[in-house]
């Protein structure tokens, strides 16, 4: 790993230039931001580039099943109090996208990087992060993703002996299993509503006992570590016991949890909680999520929920009944082609809301809602869903490609 003062080698500089040229071509061709294609070309010219680009940075890696994009944004905003930040803010979270992001940060002090779960091990090896923030692990895209517990094992192997400080959620047993292999861990009580991927002890296979927020294995003693940071209602409680109010423009408990983790990460680099939290207030919609748009005269809040844990957190933040709800589900490649997960979501939480159903797999949703005993209307398109929805702001909850479809239709 080069020292922070060491300039890029000629080969690395060529790689960055090649990458930027490719990104420019990609942008000119109208293929999005070009960040991913640029990174791919750059990595091809110099496979060690990631490490070289990160050499002068204080790097933070963020990984999770849910909330990594938002948390990356929150951490980046907080750390700007201490210096320039480079970040893959658009969620390009595999090595190529990360390389592109870093290539833009020659003058930065911090690199704040969201990393896809599968690549955490490899990216951490290449960029020598100071901090790794781990939020949660749960089932997602079951037709192709590795099983959740094996992911925790994989992380655990990668963190063994790592000099990085791991900032980890002590309320998720799989996260604790992964993080407890690291030498330096800061435990954050960030909460986790979804519990159905961690009834089985990751250490020994025993059944976890979860009488309240504490959890413990009756067989081997593996248990929830004592946190030094906590989310307590609408406040972050720091290691000294001081409570700092969380003010965000992002809704919901899950985002307060993300802010709590971000505050702990910022504190590691000397940014005080108050400063960090004040800066986080500036974060609004992240890639369209939580955006309120007006379309055909109706206010619609766009909510992305990609997996059962995400749907559960989303239900907890929507306006109370009888606010109208639109649900849209697809099962294209990026969503996972198996819709079984719909049965892991507790839709009875929507009782009392008028529900309109959309998307490629609206009939799967219809059966799911019928069995849940809910009233709903199956609609051909968004226009029809808006017409059948009674007055009031509409909460539109969609999985990945269905969310992109909605954004396109409303011009967001």
């Amino acid at each position: 790993m080069p020292e922070s003062t060491e300039p890029l080698t000629p080969r690395a500089r060529l790689a960055v230039t090649a990458g930027k040229a490719a990104a420019a071509v990609s942008r000119a061709a109208g293929r999005g931001s070009g960040s991913v294609i640029g990174g791919r070309v750059a990595l091809k010219v110099d496979p060690d580039l990631l490490g070289r680009l990160a050499g002068h940075l204080d790097v933070v890696l963020v990984s999770a099943t849910n909330g990594k994009t938002t948390t990356t944004r929150l951490i980046a905003e907080a750390l700007r109090a201490g210096g320039e930040v480079v970040s893959n803010a658009l969620g390009a979270n595999m090595p190529a996208g990360i390389t592109s992001a870093l290539a833009a940060g020659a003058k930065a002090r911090f690199g704040v990087l969201e990393v896809d779960e599968k690549y955490l091990h490899a990216v951490a090896r290449d960029v020598s992060p100071k901090v790794i923030a781990l939020l949660n692990l749960s089932r997602d895209q079951l037709d192709r993703a590795a099983e959740t517990r094996m992911m925790a094992d994989h992380w655990r192997d990668g963190l063994e002996g790592s000099p990085a400080t791991v900032v980890a959620n002590c309320d998720d047993p799989l996260i604790v299993w992964a993080a407890s292999a690291a030498t330096n861990v800061v435990w954050v009580a960030a909460g986790q509503e979804w519990k159905d991927d961690a009834w089985s002890c990751p250490a020994c296979g025993g059944v976890l006992q979860r009488p309240d927020e504490h959890w413990a294995c009756g067989d081997c003693g593996f248990e929830r570590p004592t946190p030094t940071w906590q989310l307590s209602g609408e406040k972050v409680v720091d290691p000294h016991g001081s409570a700092w109010p969380i003010r965000l423009q992002l809704p919901g408990r899950a985002n307060r949890a993300n802010a709590t983790t971000a505050t702990a990460v910022a504190a590691f680099f000397g940014v005080p909680p108050q400063t960090a939290l004040e800066r986080m207030f500036s974060v609004t919609a992240v890639a369209g999520r939580y955006d309120v748009v007006t379309h055909q005269g109706r206010d619609i809040r766009l909510l992305l929920a990609k997996n059962p844990a995400g749907w559960l957190e989303t239900f907890s933040l929507i306006d109370p009944a009888p606010s109208p709800v639109i649900l849209s589900v697809n099962a294209r490649g990026a969503d996972g082609t198996d819709t079984s997960w719909l049965w892991d979501v507790d839709y009875t939480r929507l009782a009392g809301h008028p529900i309109a159903v959309l998307g490629d797999r609206k009939l799967d949703l219809a059966v799911r809602l019928e069995v849940a005993g809910l009233e709903f209307t199956v609609c051909e398109d968004l226009g029809e869903a808006l017409r059948v929805s009674p007055p009031g702001r509409i909460e539109a909850i969609a999985n990945y490609t269905a969310f992109q479809d909605l954004r396109r239709i409303v011009g967001n």
Partner: protein, 243 residues
């Protein structure tokens, strides 16, 4: 069958509920209630004893290690075999289907004894995982329309002489031995590779379990509009573009 209610036991959701398996319990419960039956559903975790007096037992899918743990605990508990001896209806899906058999290959690559309730033996296939939509014609003795569902497994299941195939695939791999068979059944024990909420796509199969439990030939009709719409869509999709 108890006089007061239909007792539905969901076996080990802490270990075997990876693919929306709760859907099967929800569908059975809903369709029984729609027929005016009282339903007592019991979700039994793997550190609790299994009741032996249930009417319908549902056992779902899971990954390799939880499957081994579930088999160990079910063998030790013995409740499912006693329930089967009592004539209970037992329906296993994917990993749960394999556990109902004589043996399967566990996460450690070793042969793991099952419960012996079905005359089947499962080994691990060396080809690609079977992932995708399935369409299958059900054993005519069961009098059911086509099965539609999704499979995601690596198992190769051989049927012994006392197990009958549940169905024959038109699309998909089923038992994975290349003879087109899918699932297995014998008397009141049924198993399938159509994973997760298979009963949501096949409500007639859910009704069959209820009818067997009640020991009746027919149930009052219910509104199957959305089930039928979903079935028609998935069958058409599977027929047009095999995935």
């Amino acid at each position: 069958m108890s006089e007061s209610s239909l007792r539905v036991v969901w076996v080990y959701p802490d270990l075997l509920s990876t693919y929306g398996d709760q859907g099967n319990a929800l569908v059975v419960e809903r369709r029984a209630r729609q027929r005016g039956l009282k339903v007592a559903r019991q979700d039994v975790r793997s550190d609790q004893p299994l009741p032996t007096s249930g009417d319908i037992y549902l056992i779902g899918g899971g990954e390799d290690r939880p499957q081994r743990l579930a088999a160990e605990r079910l063998r030790r508990d013995g409740g499912l075999q006693r329930a089967a001896d009592n004539g209970a209806i037992i329906f296993g899906v994917c990993a749960g289907y394999q556990i109902l058999g004589r043996e399967f290959v566990n996460d450690l690559g070793r042969s793991e004894p099952g419960l012996g309730l079905l005359d089947i033996t499962t080994v691990r296939g060396d080809g690609e995982r079977c992932v995708g939509d399935v369409l299958a014609d059900v054993d005519e003795r069961l009098g059911l329309p086509q099965l539609t569902g999704f499979e995601n497994h690596q198992g190769v299941t051989h049927l012994g002489p006392t197990a009958r195939p549940l169905a024959r695939v038109r699309l998909g791999r089923g038992n994975g031995i290349g003879d087109g068979t899918e699932g297995a059944w014998r008397e009141t024990v049924l198993g399938t590779y159509l994973h997760g909420p298979v009963l949501a796509r096949n409500p007639h199969l859910a009704d069959l379990l209820i009818k067997l439990a009640l020991d009746v030939n027919a149930l009052p009709p219910v509104d199957d509009r959305w089930y039928e719409a979903l079935r028609a869509e998935r069958i058409a999709a599977a027929t047009v573009s095999p995935s």
